[in-house]
Symmetry: C2
Subunit: 341 residues, 2 copies
């Protein structure tokens, strides 16, 4: 089969890999119909993380081709959306709502790779969710978004305890931050402040539900958030970047007793000064989003055309042109790139 391979930082190739096979009875093999490039794929692309013949991709929708003997929840022919983390669905951690930390958890990007024609999905019952049927073409981008960026933005809003009457600040205007805006809107937030200095992303944020835009960053951005919230700060803050500056911006933008949901992947060296965090008296929760928890609800909202997260894709290319997709995202010519098969 054809698959995206990163031979080295910056070197993307679409080459041949063996077709995946059922190995364990809980496996499914799916034929991928759409996949995409994630902001986190840019870390190895830019050499921030190592890259040596990596099989890329962890976001996917597709059709089940074959299932192992123990698979019950999906069957060949089903159209499915899956999470970017494999989860069994049965362990105590899965049942408590954290499939992203399943005792059998495995990151799809680490070895499986869904920027490919097919993929073997372990623990299919606990990882995949079937859609109500074959989706209309225009729903595919939104279903694909549910696999990671929508699910991640949704988790961030949930972790930030967004709800009716609340003011939400969103740090980060990438795909996940924009999905956080959409999630906050769906969860009934009264006011949604998107922090963005790019006019195209500002426009999309407004379309997704942002009521205010703050262009300033760092402490100037914090000062604007405080101005907009009677000096108190936001009830809920979504952190969707993962840098030292963005974490501090999030903490300083929250009111005392407020909630910060963080989903920007923090890299080594980002460290929270606990004397400041202590006296800020905020709540912090985040990590790899437990997307599987939200998939049934998100798929239904997409199916019912209540939300249109697929708008976050601003470039669509065939899988064979993946290299251009990586370049476009790395050079910020695109926010989020969909690859079709």
């Amino acid at each position: 089969m054809r698959a995206v391979i990163m031979d080295a930082p910056g070197q993307i190739r679409v080459g041949d890999r063996d077709d995946p096979q059922i190995i364990d009875p809980t496996d499914a093999v799916i034929r991928i119909t759409a996949t995409c490039i994630c902001g986190s794929d840019l870390w190895p692309y830019r050499g921030v993380e190592p890259a040596d013949h990596l099989h890329m991709g962890h976001e996917y929708v597709g059709v089940v081709e074959e299932t192992g003997s123990a698979v019950r929840a999906v069957k060949p022919g089903d159209y499915v959306v899956g999470s970017f983390v494999i989860s069994c669905g049965e362990c105590e951690i899965c049942r408590s709502g954290y499939p992203s930390k399943c005792v059998h958890a495995e990151f799809v990007h680490a070895g499986i790779g869904t920027q490919a024609q097919k993929a073997r999905i372990p623990f299919a019952d606990g990882t995949l969710v079937a859609t109500p049927g074959e989706p209309e073409d225009d729903l595919v981008p939104s279903l694909l978004a549910a696999s990671d960026v929508l699910g991640t933005g949704w988790f961030a809003a949930d972790a930030a305890e967004v709800g009716p009457g609340k003011t939400v600040a969103v740090v980060g205007d990438g795909a996940v931050g924009l999905m956080g805006v959409l999630a906050a809107k769906e969860m009934g937030a009264e006011r949604i402040i998107a922090m963005s200095r790019h006019s195209d992303r500002q426009a999309l944020a407004r379309e997704f539900g942002a009521t205010d835009i703050v262009e300033e960053r760092g402490e100037a951005g914090v000062a604007r958030i405080r101005e907009l919230t009677d000096g108190l700060g936001a009830h809920s803050v979504i952190e969707a970047v993962g840098t030292q500056e963005s974490f501090m911006q999030a903490i300083h933008s929250s009111r005392a007793g407020g909630h910060i949901g963080f989903v920007g992947v923090a890299h080594e060296g980002v460290a929270l000064p606990m004397d400041e965090v202590f006296f800020a008296e905020v709540h912090l929760h985040g990590g790899p989003a437990p997307v599987r928890r939200y998939l049934p609800e998100l798929i239904q909202k997409i199916w019912d055309r209540e939300i249109n997260p697929g708008k976050v894709f601003d470039l669509t290319l065939p899988l064979d042109e993946a290299a251009e997709g990586y370049a476009a995202m790395s050079e910020r010519r695109a926010t989020k790139v969909m690859l079709t098969l």
Copy 2:
């Protein structure tokens, strides 16, 4: 009046200060009947924080002597317990349950000082809570504990979302950690693991409700917690120390999706590595405890003799012997010292 003054690190004196007077109409002046020495008083005592003629003390019970014209909730003659943070009770932050971050917040230790015969308490209505009547002598230590250590341990357990069926790990066996054990027991925790290597504190922890004792610290302590929790970690962790080691011990002792309530005052330099925190996927909440939120409930439990947090005091001295009380706590000859008037 007589009051404890720290002239310089390690130099405690009981000297004379002017009697406090009503200044604002929301003030009360109280005659203090009992006060105590806090672990945080040891920071300046040991020279970790500056000390230059400090008026010490922030925990107190006493009798209202005089009130300003705007005070409604307490009256002269009332026996009262107050929080270690002044709070108005009316601002949006107070009403949301965070009086410790009131927009008018003022730390009692910073200028007021309750290791003294009397104290002026600003925003008396929002800070003080009257007991149902004159307490029996044996209730006084417990009411005094409510002013800080009990309220702080209670907040830690609440922030850690302790509840029925949960396993709770308590990092720190000082007065606050022990109160965290008591709070966890009251909140219905199924299993309470106290991390302590001092036999007298272990005994008190067991009396307050600990079901297990872990003597190991650091990663060895974490390994024991994991052994006791099917490898998953505790649902709730109370952090009551405030050092880098104790924070990491708390994070590593929590299960994915678990809750950490932190109340150990973190000093400069303590910093959480966010790459680790991200993948731990825990909830974090803490800071100066909003004791005033809990005082009505805690006073009632003490009044009804449901709890006996006053047992945490293992040395009682007259105010005039405060210097010996500081020395005893600093040298770990006492866990918590009560000063009587």
